[in-house]
Point group: D2
Chain length 380, copies 4
């Protein structure tokens, strides 16, 4: 199943940038789970472009329409189909350069795979617009996780050469405060250190002004995940989270806890000593990001992804005309983001929610959604 993630709580996504709609089917939600439209709208809003020089001038309402599975703002227990209709499409922008493969894009690989039958308008199925469906489905799961005591937050770890403060990996109390602060911010440019906001935005706008784009790092924390979730080997928490993280266009790397820093550590530095905290077993440090042997140990899970610069740039680039089979030059038209890192933060949060939701459902059945109180009783 190519467009489906998850086996116990699964999301199937569909849609093309300039087709009728993008959407998703979320299957496996318990019956009676509240669907809070304001929360959903807030998540959709964080992914939305603003036309403010930081993101694409293609601004849309992104209203989520439920086709099934929701009645009176509660889940019915059957498959939830939702769609977000496409409104602001200008396919003409792409027509004149249709034979020139855009470097860094999926034009060539789509051609190799679909033999020219792909919907090429606006990137088709490869457009970042499809992540709106991922956010819509993921946000429903995220809210259910919140009710079960699990929070997931993402901030811009680094962008355009400027770094935000990192999550306090080894200080759970400080990390909780950081998460709380992020959750209380209503706007969409998620930073822990407000002082880097203007320099970062300025650097993004500067790259956009010269027809270029920038990449960055997104850092996500999962708080409240009980110990004992995940599997050794194929369904490790790392495997599930990375599987979904790489489903986000532009993500090209992921690391957990000390990540690539482990390569230069010794075991005595890398190991997290266990300590009793009252009746609870905790670790003194958290280099392993709350994960041992692929399974959660109750400490916060922290991971970072590498986000490549938006491939759509206005600078002239070398490419080929794949119809004429000859080298060519390309100047891209259309409307594009100089940087997708800020908008991708909520996508990464929602993707992580889907992975965690599937893992919890594999372990607890739907009990964690139906009765968070009972579930917490068992796990804590």
């Amino acid at each position: 199943m190519k467009n489906t993630f998850g086996s116990d709580l699964s999301l199937t996504i569909f849609g093309e940038s300039h087709g009728r709609a993008v959407g998703a089917v979320l299957d496996g939600m318990a019956a009676g789970v509240p669907v809070e439209e304001a929360f959903l709208a807030a998540c959709m809003d964080k992914r939305r472009a603003r036309g403010d020089g930081l993101s694409t001038p293609r601004v849309e309402g992104d209203a989520v329409q439920f086709l099934s599975g929701v009645v009176n703002s509660r889940t019915t227990g059957t498959a939830i189909a939702l769609m977000i209709e496409n409104q602001n499409t200008r396919s003409g922008d792409y027509a004149k350069t249709a034979d020139l493969l855009r470097p860094g894009h999926a034009d060539y690989t789509a051609y190799a795979k679909y033999h020219g039958y792909q919907d090429a308008r606006g990137g088709g199925h490869f457009s970042g617009r499809v992540t709106a469906a991922l956010v819509a489905g993921g946000a429903l799961v995220l809210r259910a996780l919140n009710r079960a005591g699990i929070e997931i937050v993402t901030h811009i770890g680094r962008c355009a050469g400027i770094s935000d403060a990192p999550f306090a990996l080894d200080d759970p109390a400080a990390l909780a405060a950081q998460a709380e602060a992020l959750l209380n911010k209503s706007e969409d440019f998620a930073l822990l250190d407000g002082s880097v906001e203007e320099p970062m935005k300025a650097a993004i706008r500067a790259a956009g002004a010269e027809g270029d784009s920038v990449g960055g790092v997104l850092e996500t924390a999962i708080l409240g995940l009980p110990a004992g979730v995940g599997e050794p080997y194929f369904d490790s928490v790392e495997s599930k989270l990375s599987h979904l993280a790489f489903s986000i266009p532009a993500v090209k790397g992921i690391e957990f806890g000390s990540g690539f820093g482990f390569a230069d550590q010794k075991g005595s530095e890398a190991n997290d000593a266990f300590r009793m905290q009252g009746e609870r077993i905790v670790t003194a440090t958290n280099h392993n990001a709350g994960l041992n042997g692929g399974i959660s140990n109750g400490m916060p899970v922290v991971f970072r992804t590498a986000v490549k610069p938006t491939p759509s740039i206005y600078k002239t680039q070398d490419t080929v005309d794949y119809i004429a089979k000859k080298d060519a030059e390309l100047s891209i038209q259309g409307r594009h983001d100089p940087c997708i890192v800020p908008r991708a933060a909520i996508v990464q949060t929602c993707a992580a929610a889907l992975a965690v939701g599937d893992l919890l459902t594999a372990k607890y059945g739907m009990a964690w959604m139906e009765d968070p109180t009972g579930y917490r009783k068992e796990v804590l």
Copy 2:
């Protein structure tokens, strides 16, 4: 299915360190595929410990026994079950510290998940010994890939603070030469630059001598993968490869092509320009590691993983006695590797083979195994 990876060509693994055997069921191989025992033995041998101060003194024969699915050294087309019996087990080593959670290990998470019923002897199912099954199953797929023109090789990118030469990401001809050289080396310490071998081994032994361990980076290249393999979003090549890479104990990070380096690049630097090379479309650079939009573009796929230091160290560590529920100190006994990076190279190669095999089978059915010639005809 917790212990199964893959939907079209799938591997199910089982076994505990000190149980009767570790093993695997490989399902989805075409009938009539040659099973080359020498190749299989060579792969097993690369993963094998040597007791040379670099790896654990637990040295075993690792003979792969086929229980089903292979007759006259060819696959029958039905499920291939194989096992590797455990011979050299000294469970007594662990008994005396059984109540002390080993930092960095899965002792605590196994306890949280299995409520004390897990097989704790020698790490049980969490032991690196289970990767012998992954190598055995993966090696069969790897050899089938070889016959279809696809090579996968892994070298030690960095270990104990010393770096090997990197794969020539942007020079396919040079990369092919590097891969060829690695494939022709019979021994198990895979390096591109022979001059770093002795310093690296010395650094590992030094860490071992002080009762400590070291981590590193493994770099893998996949050559010959045709364009058009993989899916946008959930079954992207990155998603599948990372899902399996994180199934290898100790892997805590993965990056493709420029990886985390993308964070500081601009789009004009990150994009790989397309060029005609005769009739073939290639890229001038290969920062995206042969992958656009989750799908292969025909260029080499290169990724690196971060491998944390072996958690088993002989230095005294802080921990808790989880039965007595109090803080304690632990001095680990048993037999352990000061560094698993060299032995993990073949594991990573075989894991990548499983991911690529599953992706190819999803696309071509079993045709790529049955008739590599016909398959090459279509894709090239």
Copy 3:
């Protein structure tokens, strides 16, 4: 994945009777496959109610709207989402008897499963209306099968106590003629022997007139399936076809070939002798319905399902008030079919198409859809 069938060519269905829409996501179709709207409409039309005393007076247009995956009447190769909006809903009919469990319906089991949060209007997700989505998705696969030389047809084997002529199980040429005749009939009351049509319709109307309903048998033939499709054990052709057949509401039995008749046969009667027919291996009889060891042998696959009478009847029935927790009497209102057997014929055909399509894709990848000529060349 509760609402998804198939692993290589999969269908996810969603929707409630009185919600916004019913629909489906079909995933795994090759790119460039023609989407023939006239064929699709003809299939939808066969399932459609007519308000003629044989089926429910709820008559709707059932126009299939594509949300993704289809451009210029061809598949793009990405997920095909489609929906059929609900138009003619009269939820008020149900309100007055909402607390009384309808015998034979899923009211009680839905309540037990969804704790009262299910969409109860018009049967919600349990309504036969959801089979419109199954037909829409299945029809796309059916047409692809047709192009690959495989035909699937279903007729009313028995209904209201009156039997149609059976498929000529042991005479492939005669069976082919029967199938051809059925395919050429434009109307929706599929019979091999036209002379039973009026008596059968009269018997159905008579049952309806007395506020009752009738059941029947549907018989399906699959012609042109090549030898070698299916798996021993869990993915036998019988397993896949029955899995889907029991997804059709009201189906309570299935048998292949001689079916329950085998119970009274001896091996010498039951076995189908092999014979050479020119270069081709055929069987002299076809009691095993073209299936040996779960795998197709190239002969026609024939199966029959038992369809129970529509549970919605107007006669007064004993039941319970599940809110008041006491026995009660129920007189059902609303609009219902006295017999769903005729309308279910196309549902069964499309369900079989989904099972066969998934099996072929598991074996051949997408090759059978992309290039039917090459595929036939290999298999014949």
Copy 4:
């Protein structure tokens, strides 16, 4: 995954009749579940041939060896691999007729599928011997179900033209007594009415004596399944049970409750009226076999399968020599059952246990295995 059934509690089977072993991997069992070897041995014993003129003279010990996942007679929570070694193999019996396709067997379909590379010795993977692995894995699940208050029993409904008494479909108390009686019988010829045993055995032996074989019907009851298990459509209880039932070689039909009898009923006869029984909702009759809309309603689930006569008969049969490509005559040698119906009863019970176990795990996670008391508390 061709040889795997189930997604939450899954069984992967492997093995060939004359290979080293048949076996299975059972994945998804909770940790700490008792493995009662006596119960397992009793199940294996029921499937075992006795060489008594009723079944094949190939008599083997069928000892189940655990390779992983079981320590101190309890599950560890990780994958349980088991194998049953093949001992009494006489491959030579088959060699002389190797080119003649046995009618009713999978010889031809295996050839079509595996191109001659299949293990043909003794039927290879198609041998009924593989069902020993299904019984071994299923018995572990069956015992867990028993502890959770669910019983599954199968008797010979009809064989060699002689019928046993049927399960009392509409009288739960009588059905419970029937099940109790069957469970208390230690021997392997499962009948409700002891008076038909000798006539039935005589009829089987008579068929065997004339070199022929007979078929029959197996009837299974599932008692104690709580209401609310199963899914509408693709994962209906009927879909799951039938999927597994058709995995049993020789099963060619299945019907639930009134089954094919529904075809001649009216709705007013077929519907099961709901009634209050104290606080509990029950049905007055049970034509629908405890299943409405694919979901259990708490009443007993009863189904019957049609088992075709063993295809291996000693009478001379028409067939083809598939190498010489010409018509031929075949006289089968080897050792075969004149009737597999009695031995298949425990296979059907264990197959049903696997289906029910997977459905329960999808709904409750592992809670139903870990703490049957808590689970019963919720559902009753």
